[in-house]
Symmetry: C2
Subunit: 556 residues, 2 copies
């Protein structure tokens, strides 16, 4: 079987100008980056984003398992299929991070015949957006420490600097460090740490900003630390917001690329789905909606995290109106939710599917609570049996939801046309009545309780006293209207990653809360939260290199 | 008076394809980055670099003073002037670092009517080369620490890891840090530090590599640390060289831009001139030589550092044959070398000029020792008087060297045509008989003594015992043939930055030596060496921002 890289290399890419023309983007709005990538100029973005929007389709998934579901692949396949059926469609995806690429995960550009190209470029530096975000993040750090060094006029407490440095790398050795050592002329000694760039608030701000001005305002609102009296010091206070916005100016223009079948795709921004909201930039989504009849976009992790945040954070802030939600599942993954080990997935086990389908069913029910109709995409594997598929179809039928078999991984657009037709029908029905799960005015703790009960089906939420104090302080400071961004394991509805299927009766343990005043949400840390991954014993980087023609090898 | 940024903004840029055509680069060899920047494809670079080379002109300077000399401006002005006279000329410059840009120095793209454009892009992220170098550097760090974490099969001594992390930022708080804190699952505790990207060995390797294959081989030879028995562990040993080369693949293609007068310029690579050799990439220089009758390029700091290293490191390794050297001076700077304070530079002081011109004279004599003829470029200021200029001319005449007044800052190409004619004449004379100062086979300590005596006119060199031991070990390990790269103050021929003019009789104190096995030189640290600058009390970043049209403001 051909690898993703081999398939990608065999594809014939069209000049990006041709893809742009297909998407209704004129030549003079393009800033080409090589022959197959382009940024789209600010003036055109502003104009096109103001047009009446197309229909927004969110692709999300069941609770992820090691069996894999294929969410990005389905996003691409569905977009290709809609285009092949004559629906003018834009695909909106996140940019991949270098960290996972050199670690275990490989790239994040889809797979098989449902990929965005050029995959080597997109997976490595692409158009430099993440480097710009890293630079902006670290300029702020340098200016904060420089402020402390030169006398600390703002009275910032060095022990209460919460702003961390960033690097687009899996590097566990940078999680916790002590900086400023070496004597008085070398800075101010304090504890610090690095997060992977995608986990930084700058990334979240970048992805939620409407335009450059909004970007700079949000950057300025970011809190870098607090004084001894507890009052906040912001990026604007240290005068970093202007230079950060300058560093991010070009980056904020969305990136246009193409799928293997020639569909246009905007690949732009990529915040983590735990500490942030986990979907591509608002700028790209709005541009896509202005340019197309349909935008297909993706949210990170399972629907309990990705879709909930997409609805309650991004759609709420930006006034987006999702028309349809696609939940991706596989027979194999649902079997794992039904208790089957990965090594036994090859055997037919209808009972396990029936046990595991409760995970999918709950995600469907949850999305319905937001007023958004659902279509289930079943990514087909050769080991799936008709009885197993039928078990899923039957369970979905009880929720008035179609489950459609898809083979776009191997067949491209043709393999997702059934799915595309079902999505078209859902959009045409006008059934969506989108609303966020909770109102802005609800107290922060109650917002968390609402998510826990309605989406995770927890019996209760436990708040330690310091968390209650923080939430109450932030409400006094005027941040009570913000939505909540839950950071918990993606593997379960609960905070226990081993509780597969559809657990109930659990208690959601809120360990800590963090205020992202620039991004505009409160992060609730429930369980372990990883903001700087490590490399495995044998990192993928060891086998990545150049072949004799100077092409990049070993990416997958 | 218009600022550099205002002049830059008023310029009408030509499409980069037009500039490329002027330089003999076909459209299909271009990878455009926006409308006014392009990378040049590897295949064309290889083909064009193999053509018979044009003449190589090195622009260097007197020992720098706070009065400023204008080396980059002269490089650009001379290139423009040569082109205006019909000599097909390519300008080769270093890429600026983000650090100084946000600190005190501002950008590094020339000034007045002798600039390379688009200056905002070049000064900020440009085509992402430095970000790629930072990523490659830090991937190696992550893989080294990951190796220690997973059991340290190679037996690397964590206390002897010499490989440091990098960031393209002025950030003194990262000079010395302790990483890997937080417990057993968070890595391995050890001392570490960050250098600014331009000071990293990856940058030096990048700028000395002939092609991708040579790049990967050099990266693999870089030493990351040593075992308890003193034997070296390399980047190849930790299997990082392939992924690093993959990260640097696109970056190694030279960047084409234009001057304000439409000359082509290759702006590519930018190693520090203390811990590294301080000139643009060899790939760009060789491409320029293959494409043009003349390449005008620049070396960092004064000629004692920049030109010496250009000749003894870059030209030696690559077999380059410099045809002429331009030494940039100003009346004001020579007055400072003659003892005048910066505040008194406005007054005529012929005696001070005569006292200070010894600095220029010694640089001229030194360059002559390499067999390269010299033309002196005197950047004119309005305060210069005819008697002061004449004093310089007379001193240069005694060295059989022309000193030419230049006004390209205000007049563009027209202001450097006299200089260009003098350079043309020197090239046409065929007078150059380039040879490095010392042979490869000379012992490392003797190479240092030779530079100290011949170039710095020191009476002697002092070597502490540990330095002697290191040099001797490296000679046993097979590194004795490498050239030496001196890191000392740029403000004086001696190691004492206050000893202006032309000091003699001093002793060069070698404090430490470092082996750059990938770049291929031994660094001799003489005095303070700064590999991570700090920000000033009021960093330039505070006033950099976006104007109401989204243009970048505050760069200079």
């Amino acid at each position: 079987m051909a690898t993703d890289l081999e398939i990608a290399r065999k594809a014939t890419l069209r000049p990006i100008q041709e893809i742009a023309a297909r998407a209704g983007i004129p030549d003079d709005a393009l800033e080409p980056y090589g022959k197959y990538k382009a940024k789209i100029g600010t003036a055109f973005v502003a104009e096109a984003s103001a047009r009446p929007p197309g229909a927004l389709v969110l692709v999300t998934g069941i609770s992820p398992t090691p069996a894999g579901e294929g969410k990005t692949t389905t996003t691409v396949g569905l977009g290709d299929a809609l285009n092949s059926l004559g629906t003018r469609t834009m695909i909106c995806l996140r940019e991949p991070s270098l960290g996972p690429c050199f670690g275990v995960k490989g790239g994040a550009t889809g797979g098989g015949y449902a990929q965005v190209l050029p995959m080597e470029d997109i997976n490595l530096h692409f158009t430099g957006d993440f480097h710009a975000i890293t630079s902006a993040n670290n300029l702020l750090s340098a200016m904060v420490d420089n402020h402390l060094y030169w006398g600390n006029e703002l009275g910032l407490d060095p022990r209460r600097v919460t702003w961390r440095r960033a690097m687009d790398m899996n590097d566990r050795n940078l999680r916790d460090c002590v900086v400023g050592m070496g004597g008085a002329s070398q800075g101010v000694v304090r504890e610090d740490g690095f997060d992977i760039t995608v986990a930084s608030e700058v990334m979240a701000v970048f992805c939620l900003a409407r335009d450059l001005q909004d970007l700079q305002e949000r950057l300025g609102r970011m809190i870098v630390g607090r004084r001894r009296d507890g009052t906040a010091v912001t990026a604007r206070d240290v005068k970093a917001d202007g230079a950060m916005a300058a560093l991010l100016r070009d980056a904020l223009s969305p990136n246009l690329v193409q799928t293997i079948e020639g569909s246009p795709a905007l690949v732009h921004g990529g915040p983590f789905a735990n500490i942030a909201h986990g979907c591509n930039s608002l700028v790209a989504t709005r541009l896509g909606l202005g340019l197309s009849d349909v935008v297909v976009t993706e949210a990170g992790f399972g629907a309990d995290l990705g879709a909930e945040k997409f609805f309650d954070i991004k759609a709420r802030m930006a006034g987006l109106n999702p028309a349809c939600c696609v939940i991706v599942a596989t027979v194999r993954a649902l079997k794992m939710h039904g208790g089957v080990a990965k090594s036994d997935l090859g055997r037919e086990d209808v009972v396990a599917v029936e046990r595991g389908v409760v995970n999918l069913a709950r995600h469907v029910e949850n999305v319905h609570k937001f007023g958004v109709p659902v279509v289930v995409a079943l990514n087909r594997f050769t080991s799936d049996t008709p009885a197993e598929v039928e078990a899923i179809r039957a369970a979905m039928a009880r929720l008035d939801t179609q489950a459609i078999l898809c083979t776009h991984w191997g067949d491209g657009a043709a393999g997702a046309q059934d799915l595309a037709r079902a999505v078209q029908a859902r959009i045409a029905s006008g059934a969506a009545r989108f609303q966020p799960l909770y109102p802005d005015a609800m107290p922060l703790a109650d917002k968390l309780r609402t998510i826990a009960k309605e989406v995770y089906r927890a019996a209760d939420v436990s708040f330690p006293a310091p968390v209650i104090q923080k939430l109450s302080r932030w409400e006094q400071e005027g941040f009570g209207h913000l939505p909540v961004c839950v950071a918990k394991t993606q593997y379960s509805f609960s905070a226990d990653p081993t509780a597969l299927g559809a657990p109930t009766g659990h208690v959601l343990p809120v360990r800590d809360v963090r205020l992202s005043a620039g991004a505009g949400f409160v992060v609730a840390v429930c369980g372990e939260i990883m903001t700087m991954p490590g490399l495995p014993r044998r990192p993928a980087a060891e086998t990545i290199g150049l072949d004799s023609d100077g092409r990049i090898d070993g990416l997958f």
